[in-house]
Amino acid sequence: MSSLNPAAAGPLVGAPATDNYLTHSRGFWSWAATLDHKRIGVMYLVGIFTMFLVGGLFAVLLRSVLLTPDAAAGGVKTIVDANMYNRFFTLHGAVMVFIVIIPGIPAALGNFVLPLMLGAKDVAFPRLNLCSFYLWLIGTGMALSSLYWGGVDTGWTFYTPYSTKVGSSGAFGGVVPVVAGAFVLGFSSIFTGLNFIVTIHKLRPPGMTWFRMPLFLWGTYATAVIQVLATPVLGITLLLLLAERLLGIGFFDSELGGDPVLFQHFFWFYSHPAVYIMILPAMGVMSELISVFSHKHIFGYKFIAFSSVAIAILGFLVWGHHMFTSGQSELLGVIFSAITFSIAIPSAVKMFNWLTTLYKGSIDFKAPMCYALSFMWIFGIGGLTGLFLGMMGLDQHLHDTYFVVAHFHYVMAGTIFVFFGAIHYWWPKMTGRMYDEGSAVLASILMFIGFNLTFFVQFMMGTRGMPRRYYEYRPEFQMGHVISSIGSYVMLAAVLLLIYTMIRSLRSGRPAPANPWGAGSMEWQCASPPPHDNFKTPPPVVDAYDYESLEWDERVGGYVHRGRRGGPAAAH
């Protein structure tokens, strides 16, 4: 049966005339009301990428403002005043965290890939999936509407009492729409996580056992657990914040005997695990990319799988390391510090397994691999500087400096690198087109250079006392800021080049074969782009990291299973 192995069926490959999920139905409503996980994934991807550009634009503006130390030095400072600067960094943070990175890999790429990788026809609850996308849209709209309501300048952490008292237009201000928007986005995230957990538990076809699942699914599963268990706490925290601001409930208001630090506990109880919501799916993608582009079986499969779960569990127990300077008890600080160190172990397990997978592999420097290798460098630095900050003593010095800014960008923007790598990796599957490898690799190199230019220097500024979120600074920091800003322009160029590459691919890319990279997981066994209902019959489950059975077939310009070449499947 050719449906078992579409790659083998030469004439089908890359022929857009055949029925696929893109051509299955037409018109606005066929997309807006679709229940197809692939279309929802694509809509998410377009939305999230657009918002990435918005958040990035804020960042470039911020960096431009910071080119000169203060208003007296003239220059760009006059373009955006201090208040506007505060709103920009707040929106940059809120947009990037809540709207882009948290849903980025799971909701956009996970939605597209997860059922395909599993060999399922869809996620467990397609309507909930669509609902989740619209909640994302609504939440995003609400958050951005804060600009109209006077902007929000609390930083993305909404710390009380500032967030409950200050606002440009009275009680409402810009804080309420952003916080309400984050609440709605939280529901979007919960529903995605819930959907994925149920899908992985209940829709695995026969033969797809837990330890045959590609590691991306393990990463997504661990992420989904955090999404389901941590996000409700953010929900109640934001509700209490709204109640405080709109109704004067006083839980976080020391004037009424409340406790502002309680808000920090509540907030970080979600927002630290949220860091792992951002990084775990990226680590899952990494395991795929490193293995596929080394053409070598992943090393230490079970260790990687369990380290995802370990990170998910430990991630719940470290929130207090954000509050070493907030007056929590020393004992608590010591405990949080210790657990923070211990979370380095599962993270390092992953790093060493990837390195070992690379060892003696036949490394293929395609664009996804370039992003993946960048991630290893970037996450290595981000993770290790996290240990600096996890030390109670050193954190007294580094807290709220550029060191922290650099650290979390090295971690979170590491996710963005993997996000880009994953977009390239699954692009042929999603669009049915190949992209130009040359310009894609160039963009990834530019991105890597720009990123390190922007943020590495911030570690040094931070150790020397440059506080985060400041509009003006002492002149001796100017050199660092200028380097950092130049880096941000390089990244802007890289992103523009990436967009150009992708648009050109859509317009004139060569039709993609079913399996262009020689990957073993199941999504590469259906055509590119996949048909509407993925698999007519579930494909045979094979080891996702077995590359021995794949070989290059010139006729289709992609990889096919050995022995199934050019004819009915001999195996199975």
């Binding site: 059922p115 399922a120 026809k121 869809d122 996620v123 467990a124 609850f125 397609p126 909930l128 919960i190 819930l194 959907n195 957990i197 149920v198 899908t199 538990h201 209940k202 829709l203 389901v228 268990l229 941590a230 996000t231 409700p232 706490v233 929900g235 109640i236 925290t237 509700l239 209490l240 109640a243 405080e244 109704l247 004067g248 409930i249 006083g250 839980f251 208001d253 004037e255 009424l256 005997g257 409340g258 406790d259 309680l262 509540f266 209902d533 007519k536 019959t537």
Partner: protein, 346 residues
């Protein structure tokens, strides 16, 4: 498991074998599931996960409750006596009965008893209505008495409110003149304060008046007839309280001695501690969020009722009733924790 047993044979009966393209499935089987059993199991797991998120949502509030109560037990010991245990107990019974009718409705729908299912769903819905009505009555009393959260807490009103409401003769405000005993008619039993205690009660009771307008307290609130004094004070109390008068030193009521107030048959011993508003903040957020969940549950049950009357459910397909039931039980369960934690503490 009864449900699994009920669903298993159907899946085999309803799904034609050998039809790989999914035509001719059971009408309620969605295309991406292989069998009704799989669909039912997925729905059930999804609902349990959703319930976990709900528990965590309330978990934040329970956590806040624990922290505030541990730090300031006196606030909770003092303020919980203003809650009406009778109404609370009735509401507990109402919800438990509705949980029973819901469980029965699930069983009835599994057996394909359509009319019985519809009737039981209607009864469950009515239970929700009853609960919300009683809650509204309780809330109204609290609003009337100024027993509210944070900045809206107004300790003067629960003196005035009950005094007027029960037609008791005298009022604390009258004692601001520093003379005779004032009756405070809470719970219908007018009871005299010791003069000194009443004086300070009056002063603090006039909250804004005493703090912000000291002259007004002495001049205006020394009328011939206590009734006028009460209404004057009540008028005062209608002025939205500013933040300043609520500072602990000013709201603190320190009538030492056994000046017991009667509230709904409970004795209020001891002085009013600082920050009583916390308790009402906790009370209103917890019961308010719970009330929203009751409303959501009622919407679900109303939708199930419509579908049941329409004949959507059968012994083959009852997943929505089952899942709606799970949700309703959770809403009940949360109340089972709220009732003792808020009403029955000692």
């Amino acid at each position: 498991m009864q449900m699994a047993d009920a669903a298993h044979p159907i899946s085999h009966a309803a799904v034609p074998h050998g039809d790989a393209h999914g035509h001719g499935h059971h009408p309620n089987l969605e295309h991406h599931f292989d069998s009704l059993t799989q669909q039912f199991d997925a729905g059930k797991l999804g609902m349990w996960l959703f319930l976990a998120t709900e528990v965590l949502l309330f978990g934040g509030l329970f956590c806040a409750y624990a922290i505030f109560r541990r730090n300031h037990p006196e606030v909770f010991m003092y303020a919980h006596q203003y809650l009406d245990t009778t109404w609370g107990a009735i509401n507990t019974v109402v919800l438990l009965v509705s949980s029973f009718t819901m469980a029965w409705a699930v069983t009835a729908s599994q057996r394909g008893q359509r009319n019985l299912t519809s009737l039981l769903l209607a009864l469950t819905f009515l239970g929700g209505v009853g609960f919300m009505v009683i809650k509204a009555i309780e809330y109204q009393h609290k609003f009337h008495d100024g027993l509210m959260w944070g900045t809206h807490y107004d300790p003067s009103k629960h003196g005035h409110g009950h005094g007027e409401g029960h037609g008791a003769a005298a009022h604390g405000a009258a004692a601001a003149a520093g003379h005779a005993a004032a009756g405070d008619g809470r719970g219908g039993a007018a009871e005299s304060h010791a003069a000194g205690a009443a004086a300070s009660a009056g002063a603090a009771g006039d909250h804004g008046a005493s703090a912000a307008h000291p002259e007004a307290t002495t001049s205006v609130h020394a009328p011939e007839t206590p009734g006028q004094g009460a209404s004057a004070a009540a008028a005062d109390a209608d002025v939205p309280p500013e933040r300043a008068p609520l500072e602990p030193s000013q709201v603190a009521l320190a009538p030492s001695g056994p000046a017991g107030l009667h509230v709904g048959g409970h004795d209020l011993h001891g002085p009013r501690p600082d920050n009583v508003h916390w308790f009402f903040g906790v009370y209103f957020t917890m019961t308010g969020l719970h009330g929203l969940h009751v409303l959501a549950g009622m919407a679900v049950i109303g939708w199930l009722f419509v579908r049941s009357v329409r004949g959507d459910f059968s012994a083959d397909y009852f997943t929505p009733v089952d899942l709606g039931g799970l949700y309703w039980h959770l809403v009940d369960l949360i109340w089972i924790f709220l009732f003792p934690l808020l009403y029955l503490i000692h």
